[in-house]
């Protein structure tokens, strides 16, 4: 079988921010939020992206969406580099790729009702108002919200309701690709179940491609096909969900999975490794492997040489000197 072109192709992507050095020192410092990130998303697959708070996940999403430009590297969406497109081409591409941001309020204009927030992108892309209005009702119902909320303003709604509206708004455009940044963090368990089911139904019916960013590893295990783990702006491990959740290889992934609460009290006696140390700095990277100051397995070589992403199994990659030796 011919290998299909990936829906999203991320190659050697870096995004650095320049920030002031503070009140007293002159000059600038560089925050290296994403570093040399390479990854493909296949059509019809769900990728789960996990990693420590501040490791660059949201920044990566913003670069993919071309909401901010890359410092180095490229992103191809269906083979097209959005940063090189004309405004008209960009608009056309944007239709296919929807996003739900982490902070539900940032998805919506505070002075617009829910109805016009959901309708606006459809109208912008040339849909008749009456049709857009009908579609708005339909998607709101699909996220299990009553139609009377259509006339509400964002400040009148709870965090969970805002998140559902953001999802509804993204769905309204019938996108091919969805990037969901913490889509369920503000949701109750029963609403979360409804939203995850809905996302899966749509994805299977229309062969959609999702990238889901979340701290909740139970959600990742449930919904994703592949999992990517980020640490300090770098991809440190990538593999099939089954192996990533049951037997990850990179020491950071291991610590992350071990820290995830298990929904079963009889498991609480298990051996848990609580990760030591503080999240590393994106300004002063440690020498060698960026994880070495916190890594319980670190050896001499980890302090000196920077490990590369290497294949360690069937569709399984890791950035660790010791994973390679196994």
């Amino acid at each position: 079988m011919e290998k299909m072109q990936p829906v999203i192709q991320i190659e050697h992507l870096s995004k650095h921010f320049s920030i002031d050095n503070g009140f007293f020192t002159k000059g600038k410092k560089t925050v290296k939020a994403v570093n040399d990130f390479t990854l493909n998303l296949e059509k019809g697959k769900i990728l789960g992206l996990v990693g420590e708070s501040g490791s660059g996940k949201t920044t990566l999403a913003r670069v993919i969406l071309n909401l901010t430009s890359a410092t180095e590297g490229t992103v191809l969406i269906n083979g097209v580099d959005m940063s090189k497109c004309s405004a008209a081409e960009k608009k056309e591409l944007r239709k296919n790729i929807a996003v739900v941001f982490q902070d539900p309020l940032s998805n919506l204009n505070p002075r617009e009702t829910v109805m016009s927030s959901i309708m606006r992108p459809m109208v912008l892309h040339g849909m008749k108002r009456a049709l857009a209005r009908e579609k708005a009702r339909e998607v709101l119902e699909s996220v299990k919200m009553d139609a009377h909320y259509l006339n509400s303003y964002p400040h009148q709604l709870s965090g969970g309701q805002l998140q559902r509206i953001a999802i509804a708004r993204a769905l309204a455009m019938n996108p091919q690709i969805m990037i969901l940044d913490e889509p369920t963090s503000a949701l109750d368990i029963s609403v979360q179940a409804q939203i995850l089911n809905l996302l899966l139904d749509l994805q299977e019916q229309h062969q959609l491609t999702y990238m889901i960013i979340t701290h909740d590893l139970n959600v990742i295990r449930y919904i994703s096909d592949q999992v990517a783990v980020m640490y300090l702006g770098q991809l440190v491990e990538y593999g099939e969900t089954k192996i990533m959740c049951s037997n990850p290889s990179h020491p950071y992934s291991k610590a992350l999975m071990a820290a995830s609460p298990i929904l079963d009290p009889t498991m609480r006696g298990r051996e848990k490794e609580i990760m030591k140390g503080d999240p590393g700095s994106l300004i002063h990277f440690p020498s060698g492997c960026s994880f070495h100051p916190r890594c319980r397995y670190a050896e001499e070589i980890c302090m000196q040489e920077r490990p590369e992403m290497e294949r360690i199994g069937e569709n399984h990659w890791a950035r660790c000197h010791l994973c390679m030796q196994k």
Binding site: K144, S185, I189, Q192, Y222
Partner: protein, 322 residues
């Protein structure tokens, strides 16, 4: 010595709002023992924070509280303002849902903790030593340096630890932690849970842990209460409730949790929505969503039934299978 530290008896809390009263908490009774972690779970808006604030007497002015709240045998609702301030300072500590709101952005966090502990009349220098010690207790990295940090210079997890350090300084017998780890990543969450468990072990602190995360309950709680729309529908030993939840709502929630993978099928959902809680009506508040509901559920309050000495629930029919 009595093991019981806190007891709420038939507590109902109504908020006066335009057009009447909103019944946020209805007829809730539970107790917390010394040295145990008692979790309160339930969906957003079910009244968890309202219950917590009623214990601290920190409810908004438009709240009306009925029933009794006893701490160590004393009815907290009958104390003078001065007395309740003393209880808050020394006996009961609270970690609020939004830590950034409770720290002052213009002072270093260390100065704020120092301020809090110097109420005991120790010198400023002694205070600083104590602050550093407290920061170490909560596993703050680089404790000596971090006492000089302002709130915005700390990550969410660190700020949360400052709040815990501040609580520790009072050495309370009861710690109320309202969603202490929401929005933190799992590695920091695990560190904070470790600190809470340590408190319980070392100082015999009782903890009331408010959360909507069942994973946390499974990891650290001894007993758990499940709330729905202001009613406490089930409570008991954590192991018993995870093994055999009784109330239809608890059972459905347990099934809605993503435990497996999508290959094993879709998640179970709960149809319908929470009713609007204006005037108090008889009947079970879960009735309109309950697969087992019959006529009586809409007409009569279910009585509390005991399944064992450590497990009670509130339902007319929960004996049968859902």
């Amino acid at each position: 010595m009595n093991d019981e530290l806190l007891r709420l008896e038939n507590v109902s809390i109504n908020y006066k709002v335009r057009g009447g009263y909103l019944s946020a908490v209805k007829d809730v009774s539970f107790h917390v023992n010394r040295g145990e972690i008692f979790a309160v779970v339930g969906e957003s808006g079910c009244g968890k924070s309202t219950v917590a604030h009623s214990i601290m007497r920190l409810l908004d002015k438009n709240a009306v509280v009925l029933g009794s709240i006893k701490y160590n045998g004393t009815n907290l609702m009958e104390l003078s303002n001065k007395q309740i301030t003393g209880v808050r300072g020394h006996d009961i500590g609270m970690i609020f849902q939004n830590p950034l709101d409770s720290l002052n952005p213009v002072y270093t966090t260390g100065a704020q903790v120092n301020e809090a502990i110097r109420l005991d009349g120790i010198s400023k220098l002694e205070g600083w030593k104590k602050v550093i010690e407290l920061y170490r207790n909560v596993k703050m990295p680089d404790a000596e340096k971090r006492v000089q940090a302002y709130p915005h210079e700390m990550s969410g997890g660190m700020r949360q630890r400052v709040m815990i350090a501040m609580m520790l300084s009072r050495n309370p017998s009861l710690l109320i932690a309202d969603e202490p780890t929401t929005a933190l990543d799992v590695t920091i969450e695990a560190q904070i849970l470790e600190i809470i468990s340590q408190l319980k072990k070392e100082f015999g602190t009782a903890v009331m842990l408010i959360t909507h995360n069942f994973g946390l309950v499974a990891e650290v709680a001894d007993r758990v209460a499940i709330m729905y729309a202001g009613e406490l529908v089930e409570q008991g030993d954590v192991f018993e409730i995870f093994r055999a939840p009784k109330h239809p709502y608890t059972r459905l929630l347990m099934k809605a949790l993503p435990r497996g993978t999508k290959q094993e099928g879709r998640l179970q959902t709960i149809d319908g929505t929470v009713p609007r809680l204006m005037e108090v009506q008889p009947g079970c508040r879960f009735a309109n969503r309950c697969p087992m509901a019959k006529k009586i559920c809409y007409e009569q309050d279910p009585a509390i039934r005991a399944l064992s000495a450590t497990h009670t629930y509130r339902c007319h029919f929960a004996e049968e299978e859902v």
